[in-house]
Symmetry: C2
Subunit: 448 residues, 2 copies
């Protein structure tokens, strides 16, 4: 990661080889989302400030826009930069409801901004990759299953440490609390949500004092929150706690279906678990909730979160329920790139450098390069007709694997500068090995 | 284009099929840039305000960032959103000079912001696609030739009306003015630069009054500015004006080389011309300058501009000369999309919709979809087991060309819903025609 002046901290920038890693990750995400038929959408970076502040949770984290020297009549202080892609999606869906087809399945990969105090995993500018399915009036629960499976598949393809996708269901939790006779299940939810920050004894006290549960009921809540399972065995574990409620039944069935579908596509790189302590702070989730930890990097928090919201947006006539999940691309990658865990095999796309024998052969060298490019081989021409040794070092410093030597007599040779192997080659037919066509991602194992 | 509330005008947003057009254009640009070995870079959206204002030309167009409720001590009013990608590149190069390889060849496709009064072709948020080559201390003139050729090739691949890439050289102009005895060649340059806005007689007066030229010399300047040629014949046309100066000779040779190289890759869709009235307002250009008009859309101004700058950036020890060109992707596309000139064949990536015979077959249908995806075919499963007629209309409304019908007995059929042709198909081998794999771009001819 680039060192930078303090005032710009929180605005991460990558060196070219690091950016190549990010591009490869973004390409991979897009490929998975599009294979599943999700359509790309971008929304404007600016939203009306009153809309951004509706949730009331990020007040002083929003960046307000103001035109320099704006006259009062033309002040844009009513606009701020979006801090996520969910609020803009809700506005976009309402604005364009008449022209969109529902269920509306979109992916959105864009920068977001928050005026947070920067730290590892927290940035002021960061890229999110979201998928959501939005219904009009109704949305089948199968969308929850799909969202989980698509994101699990997308995560499986990434060159990052193993991930753990943790799934829970707020209906399950609410039903459990109601079955225990909780008068204020929302207070119990808020208490359980604090298990990340407080120790169980403190949470137990909150369950008794704030949520009005008996000590025995509070213990059962803590027992519920301790359940983790990589398959549907969690259903029996919950049943064994002896709580009954129709909402609990619905939540258990939903969670089992989502976990099962996501497990179908999970790999050794992405573990899918039912984790019954996951609550998500935000009030608008109503069913399925997701969080994701990177193994060995739990300290940076959840890198991929989301859930079901029965009313993502409403206008005068219509309610738009939705389910979505948001991958924090910068939160995921910036720490790995900074630590040197990930890097690319080269800092340029070029697979071939065409060497320049002398200044007069520049046009001929350009023609050779163009012949290679015509067959999809990224190629650049050496900038100066220096000694070949210097031109080879030009390629080496950038990680370009092949140097092409045009010969006056019209024959050509190409050298793999990693092995030193050199062979006669025809610019109309020579092709590098598939793996050398674009930069590959190097994933260093972390020291234990 | 989406209708939107007035306060958001200038922040264009696309419907999914319009976004598919933009994505296809961005992919095409990236492909060309990478084939030529340009590396992707992104810089942070925010720059120090004093850096953004250094050129002094865009004072009140800059968006200043402020954290809502920022305390004075933590105020971020020192940051603004970048209004182009050149100022950030200069800062990035100096920040990272020790870790970059020079000549540094990068492309950068990012959003920029200006608080301009919105109008056709002018937006408050817009995407630019830049390529630049940056040297350390020196940069061969061949980089100018390369930049022109790469952008001409990139433009040729775009599904837009014909473009005219207009190239000039400020050394040529300056040498011409000096050869005429101009005491203040910069004033003469500024006068010629006004030919877009003023009539020739007014410019002639400026050349006499402000630049101190004789009426006869002013006429020769206007004659120079009137020269346009699609080949190197402009050299003789300039010679015929009878002005001599070493800088003029150098400028003529450079312009001839750039025009020749760019013409090599030009097609009927992109005309390359030497246009000797192109001056570019900005002071920092020192040699080659570029502008680009879209035929029939000249009113939106230049969609792709740039040039040579002998000192893009400097630090205590080093000067970084550069040459670059910047394509206004939003300026190019938003008017075409708004006018309905461009659209995509479908609003989703899906080539296939797998119909759902009944709720119980959802898992089997998902498996079929996954078999198609495994071979790179974007596929979605119908959301509900409604009547097949309704499921086919679901596909039609989105422009999905194929509907897949799983049959209970394990055989399958696929229907091209455009032709109605239906055939037995195997999900492990059936492939749609290559052209149907992704949305195609429709380019409506403009009414004359």
């Amino acid at each position: 990661m680039v060192k930078k002046a303090e005032y710009r901290s929180g605005f991460p920038e990558y060196l070219p080889s690091q950016r190549a890693v990010e591009l490869s990750v973004l390409d991979s995400l897009r490929r998975t989302f599009e294979l599943h038929g999700f359509a790309s959408v971008e929304t404007s970076s600016a939203e009306a400030l009153d809309r951004l502040l509706q949730k009331g949770e990020t007040d002083n984290e929003v960046y307000v826009l103001r035109r320099l020297h704006a006259e009062v009549a033309d002040d844009h202080s009513g606009l701020g930069l979006h801090f996520d892609l969910t609020v803009p999606l809700a506005r976009y869906v309402v604005d364009n409801a008449g022209q969109l087809e529902f269920p509306f399945r979109r992916y959105q990969i864009q920068k977001c901004w928050r005026g947070e105090r920067p730290q590892e995993g927290r940035y002021r500018e960061f890229t999110q990759a979201d998928i959501d399915v939005i219904g009009k009036d109704t949305l089948s629960f199968d969308a929850d299953v799909e969202i989980a499976a698509v994101m699990a598949e997308a995560l499986s393809a990434l060159p990052v440490p193993p991930l753990r996708l943790q799934i829970n269901n707020r209906r399950l939790m609410e039903g459990f609390f109601l079955g225990l006779g909780a008068a204020d299940p929302a207070a119990a939810m808020r208490a359980v949500d604090k298990l990340d920050k407080l120790d169980p004894e403190q949470v137990r006290r909150l369950l008794v004092d704030d949520a009005g549960l008996s000590p025995e009921a509070a213990d059962r809540c803590l027992a519920l929150a301790a359940i983790v399972a990589a398959d549907t065995s969690f259903v029996q574990a919950v049943r064994d706690l002896g709580v009954e409620h129709p909402l609990l039944d619905q939540g258990l069935a939903e969670l089992a279906a989502v976990v099962e579908a996501a497990s179908d596509v999970a790999t050794e790189r992405v573990e899918v678990v039912a984790d019954l302590r996951i609550a998500r702070g935000l009030d608008y989730y109503t069913g399925t909730v997701f969080e994701t930890r990177m193994v060995g990097w739990e300290r940076i928090g959840s890198v991929c979160s989301g859930g079901r919201y029965d009313a993502l947006a409403t206008d005068a006539r219509t309610t738009f329920p939705g389910v979505g999940i948001s991958l924090g691309v910068t939160r995921l990658l910036a720490p790995l790139l900074t630590a040197g865990v990930l890097d690319a095999s080269r800092s340029v796309p070029s697979a071939v450098l065409v060497a320049l024998p002398d200044g007069g052969s520049r046009r001929a060298c350009r023609a050779v390069a163009q012949q290679l490019r015509a067959r999809g081989i990224p190629t650049e021409v050496a900038p100066d007709p220096t000694k070949y040794g210097r031109q080879i070092r030009y390629a080496q410093r950038r990680g370009i694997p092949f140097v092409w030597f045009p010969r006056a007599e019209g024959t050509h040779e190409v050298r793999d500068i990693r092995s030193g192997d050199q062979e006669v080659a025809d610019p109309l037919s020579w092709t590098p090995p598939e793996i050398d066509l674009r930069p590959t991602i190097r994933h260093e194992e972390l020291p234990e």
